[in-house]
Every structure is written in structure tokens, then in C-alpha cells.
Symmetry: C2
Subunit: 161 residues, 2 copies
DNA sequence: TGTATTTAGTTGCAACTAACAACAAATTAA
DNA sequence: TTAATTTGTTGTTAGTTGCAACTAAATACA
């Protein structure tokens, strides 16, 4: 194997391991997020989508989150119960509801977001702008790759045990 | 705010969003892994640790995986049931078991690993070695940061709903 | 040596997540 | 107007994980 290919293979392996670890440890950071604030990870994502989009139908939220509408409905339930989101009946279509983040919800979202961004900032402060850009690109590419495969997914439910 | 700081803040935000997305979509890739192969994500991690370390006590595995020993025990249960791992009684300490990956387990692990590495390789093939290295470093740094916080975690169980 | 303590692992239980299916209500199509 | 579709909720089920209680073995110590 030529020198270059060997290097590429090594880098790919390193990247695989690095990403693996990252994703694994993120679970635990996320558990922190849960207990330091007032929302679970899924609830936080929902809050994020709603805050970013202004107002969403349940169906839309479910699609964005790649969750079943029933699950989304219950996630919204808990956010409503905590006062972060309100369900407003749609005037034009009375089946539908407009999910909207309350001021309290916006405040929480912004607080969490600011905290997490501050941490990232600390992390990359010492890097050159070029390196930062490149890293972000790699992470985005990883996501794109994963996303694509998610679409090709067999989609079925898991096997036994 | 000076130009540089603004740039840093923007990069931090971009990184935050990129990582967020990556982690989120990884869940779904992982679900794929489950249905395409024969193991859950946690089972796969366990297999990985065991394959890398040769043989482990349950306790050690639990620590590596940051899981409770009861959970680890059950993860091992399922791997044993599927024939990927064996529990061998320790001769010196009859309380203990040596968890060992079977040939079948090694084969599965290597197959999964090879697949995933091949994907990473494809992803970074067009990047310069320097950029690759930098990206890997950033991802590792992210992990280190998260890991550190995991240690400071409050560790308690969640609130209601 | 014999009792107490510690350690290794398993099992019971409860909290949580999320999907599928069945449903009610409203809307749209025929 | 009736049938089909769409929107969202609720019932049920499967699965993951941690804590606590337990058994059995090993070690400490008096």
C-alpha cells in the first residue's frame, strides 16, 4: 500500500474512533443538561426547533425531529406542563395546533444555547480561523453522510434482544 | 466587539450547531447499525471494548462504558445469548468472570468497524493531511471537554416528566 | 480460627424513551 | 352527503438504564 493510502486509512481510523468517543460522551453531557436545567435532551431539541421556527404544527415538529407524532405529542405535553410551550388552536384548521414557545421557553433555550456556545468558543479559541473552518466542515460532512444513510435506512423496528 | 472576536463567536456557534446535528443524526445511523447487524449500539460498544482489551471483568467493562454494573451485566447477557461473548469463570477468584469475545464476536466487530472506517475514509479522502489532523484534534478536544464535565456531573436522577 | 467487611456479579424494580396501532375530530374529495 | 384523508391524542408494548437488595466469594482482623 502506498504511503499516502496508508496515511488516509490511519486518519480514517482515527476519525472513526474520535467521532465514536464524541458521540458516546455526549450522552453523558446531555444527562447533565437534563439535571442542570429543566428539560430532557429531546425536550431541548423540541424547544430549539420551535424557537428557531417561531411556530410549528405538531406534524412538522415530528418530521424535523425524526420522531413519531405520538412521541412528539408527548414531548410537547411535558413542555406545555412546564410552561415553555403553548398549544394554540389553529383558526383555519381546527384539527391543528400551533405550537409556540413562551417567553419563559425562549429564555431557557437562549440560556442553554449561550452556555453551550461559550464552551465551544473556549475550545476553539486557540485555533486558526482556517482550522476552525475546516473542522466545522468535516463535522458537517460527517452529518451529511449520516443523514444520507438515515434516508436509505431499512427503517424497520429492531430485532429481539 | 472586535472583528476577530466576532469571527470566533460565529465559529463557535457554527461548531455548536454542527456538533449538535452530528450527535442527533448519529442516533439514527446507530439504529441502522442495529437492524443491519445483530447488535444494539450499547452491545456494539461492549463488543468493541472486549475485543480491544482481550478479556475484561464485568466491573472493568462497566467502568469503561460508564454504565452501571447491572446494565453491563445485562448487555453481556444478550451478547452471550447471541454467541458473541463468553463468560469464563475466573479460577483464582470464583466470584469473578472473564468476559471474552468469541471468534464470531471478533468477526462481527471487525466487520462493523471496517464498514464504518471505510465510510470515514471516503469522507476525508479529499482533504489535505493537515486538515484531517486538525479536524481529528478538534473532535478529540470536544470529547475531552465533554468528558471533563461528565466527571463534574451532579449525577442525580431526573426530575419528573 | 472465626467473624466482619468488602468485593463481584445478578436480579427485582421503577423511571424513562419511543414506536405502533387505534382512535376522535375536522377537513377535503367524490 | 358520504367516503377518504389528515391532525393530533391516547393505549399499549418493547426496550434501556440506574438504584437497591441480594448471593456468593474473598479478605481483614481480632
Amino acid at each position: 500500500m502506498p504511503q499516502q493510502d496508508l496515511q488516509l486509512q490511519q486518519d480514517a481510523t482515527a476519525l472513526y474512533e474520535a467521532v465514536n468517543q464524541l458521540v458516546r460522551f455526549y450522552q453523558f453531557r446531555d444527562r447533565d443538561l437534563i439535571c442542570c436545567h429543566d428539560v430532557s435532551v429531546t425536550q431541548c431539541y423540541a424547544l430549539e426547533f420551535l424557537a428557531e421556527h417561531g411556530s410549528l404544527r405538531l406534524q412538522q415538529l415530528a418530521e424535523l425531529m425524526l420522531l413519531d407524532k405520538s412521541t412528539s405529542s408527548r414531548v410537547v405535553d411535558s413542555l406545555v406542563k412546564k410552561g415553555y410551550v403553548t398549544r394554540i388552536a389553529d383558526i383555519n384548521d381546527r384539527r391543528a395546533v400551533a405550537l409556540t414557545v413562551t417567553d419563559k421557553g425562549v429564555a431557557l433555550y437562549q440560556q442553554i444555547r449561550a452556555e453551550l456556545i461559550a464552551q465551544e468558543q473556549q475550545l476553539i479559541a486557540h485555533l486558526s480561523p482556517e482550522t476552525r473552518q475546516a473542522s466545522i466542515e468535516v463535522i458537517r460532512a460527517l452529518t451529511a453522510q449520516v443523514k444520507q444513510r438515515a434516508t436509505n435506512s431499512c427503517g424497520t423496528r429492531l430485532c429481539s434482544d
